[in-house]
Amino acid sequence: MSEVPLIRPKHFSVTALKESFGSFLFVVPALLIFFVFYIYPFFKTFHLSFHEWNGISLKQLFVGFDNFKELMHDEKWWISVRNAGYITLIALTFQNILALCLALACDREIRLKRFYRVVFFIPPVLSETVVGLIWSWILYAGMQNGQHIGLLNYILGKTGLTFLVHNWLSDPKTALACIAIVHSWKGFGWGFLLMLAGLQTIDRQLYEAARVDGAGPWSVFVHVTLPMMIPVFLMVVILTVLGSMQVFVLLLVMVGEGLVYHTEVPVTRILAAMTGGYPQFGYACAMAVIFGLMLVVVSFTFQKLSDRVKQA
């Protein structure tokens, strides 16, 4: 029973109406903000996506599905989607496997366990701007007095790995990989904490029983730990996909003006369409709609999968 047993009239009464109106007033501030800053922009996105508009003129030209048709053939857009997919793939594999290994290592009586837990979550609390700027400084490419300025190139030069010295962030080939790795560096603490919490809910007696039955560490992991962890994995996967597909502040900060379409992601395309020399707000909204749909499809698929696993 969570309801308050207020006066419960059987029939319509003025007192009851006043009661519920008073109760309704409690949610009015939240609803007002929600409608103005969430619901309105939400529907406005759909509305604008069918128009051509430069953001300034009073005239919004209705163009039907033209924006969407143009988007289907927009090579830059699909390259940006692919780039985000690449970052997501690295985050899904590298970042989550690292997180799982760390969680497994910490899921036991081990010295300094709390210290590790605190340290691994430091990168996630930092902002993307801070993380991006620190890493751009470490990856800085350039020389002064015959010496590399950036720490990474300096170390590579000193240790005889000169052939690896590189313009990390200005070469489109490595820029995206660097961003994916920095993004994983910033994000693995999340996966680590969620997976550690998941591991700690597994009943120790299960391990005990498996060991008594003669299972080695590997088969305990495969036959006990992994199946028990599937719901947690699915949650981590959803969060990783949603987070990594929408990465863009790191890109803005680390690659910045050098942002060519080899390194762009969907959100920077949306921003570019909106703030570029010839602003296309309608087109930007069409991208937002399509991109939002993609994310919804992905997240609902995993949600359904997760529900099915939980039922089984």
Partner: protein, 282 residues
């Protein structure tokens, strides 16, 4: 005493490898921050060449220079201001709504809750486009108020969800006692529900503070006036205009990162508990 047979050895070397692994990762988390701090203490002449871990001459004045000439005092004040008011607004507005949804009765209240829940679930990647259009129309570009309201909106749904779940589990007897004593609904919210919800509110305050302090894109779109910019935006502006002064940029980064790290270290128990219990997802 243990016998040093091969099993003990295997055990020890496994434990050594695990510790080594954990140490390497922990070091990789801390080293970039150390490098930032070290670079913030160097002069403009040495920062590009000198690679020693501890600078020979420590230039504390960099922080002063960044604070005054780099405009970081202004950015810092703005960040504190936005964070305080946005979090204050989130706590008041979301607790009012959550209390009403959990405890009071009005028609359509399930619909209201579903609405907030849906907002939490549906990703809106380009919502800043129409938001910018609307703020422009309302004349809320370069307005502190406008930015604060946007940030309140960002944190609202999650906070309502957390508080509603908390209120649902709260024993009702105290509220009944207060009602019998003639307390109004608003009074019960203020004097009974809010004090009891302290643990949930702590989680909301911590996470929303981190969120507002670290926000970048809305600050970029909505605030062009240097005097209104928060730290995250200021950093990027500084980098754009003083691209040579890396020592001051690093000092600015330190000014931005240290408060967050301190809050995190002081509050890490709450943060890790909040996360592990799955209260904050997305």
């Amino acid at each position: 005493m243990k016998k040093w047979n091969k099993y003990v050895w295997a055990n020890h070397s496994a434990s050594f490898i695990i510790h080594l692994f954990l140490w390497v990762v922990a070091l990789s988390c801390l080293f970039p921050l150390f490098w930032m701090l070290r670079s913030a203490l160097m002069s403009n002449d040495t920062i590009f060449i000198d690679k020693s871990f501890i600078p020979k001459v420590i230039h504390f004045e960099n922080f002063y220079l960044a604070w005054t000439e780099g405009n970081f005092a202004m950015y810092f004040f703005n960040s504190v201001w936005y964070t305080f008011w946005a979090v204050f607004g989130i706590v008041i507005i979301s607790s009012l709504a959550a209390y009403s949804i959990s405890r009071l009765k009005f028609p359509g209240k399930n619909l209201v809750f579903t609405l907030f829940l849906a907002a939490m679930m549906i990703p809106l990647p380009g919502s800043f486009v129409p938001l910018y259009v609307m703020m422009n129309k309302l004349g809320l570009i370069n307005s502190r108020m406008g930015y604060i309201f946007c940030m309140i909106n960002v944190g609202l749904s999650v906070s309502i969800f957390i508080l509603k779940t908390f209120f649902d589990k709260m024993p009702i007897a105290l509220e009944d006692a207060a009602r019998i004593d003639g307390c109004s609904r608003l009074g019960i919210w203020r004097h009974v529900a809010l004090p009891l919800a302290k643990p949930a509110i702590a989680v909301i305050v911590i996470f929303q503070s981190l969120n507002v302090w670290n926000e970048y894109i809305l600050a970029t779109l909505l605030l062009n006036d240097k005097n209104l910019m928060p730290l995250q935006r200021g950093l990027v502006v500084f980098q754009g205009t003083h691209s040579v002064d890396y020592h001051l940029l690093m000092a600015g980064l330190t000014i931005t990162a240290v408060p967050i790290i301190l809050v995190y270290l002081l509050m890490q128990k709450h943060i890790i508990k909040g996360l592990s219990s799955g209260a904050i997802v997305g």
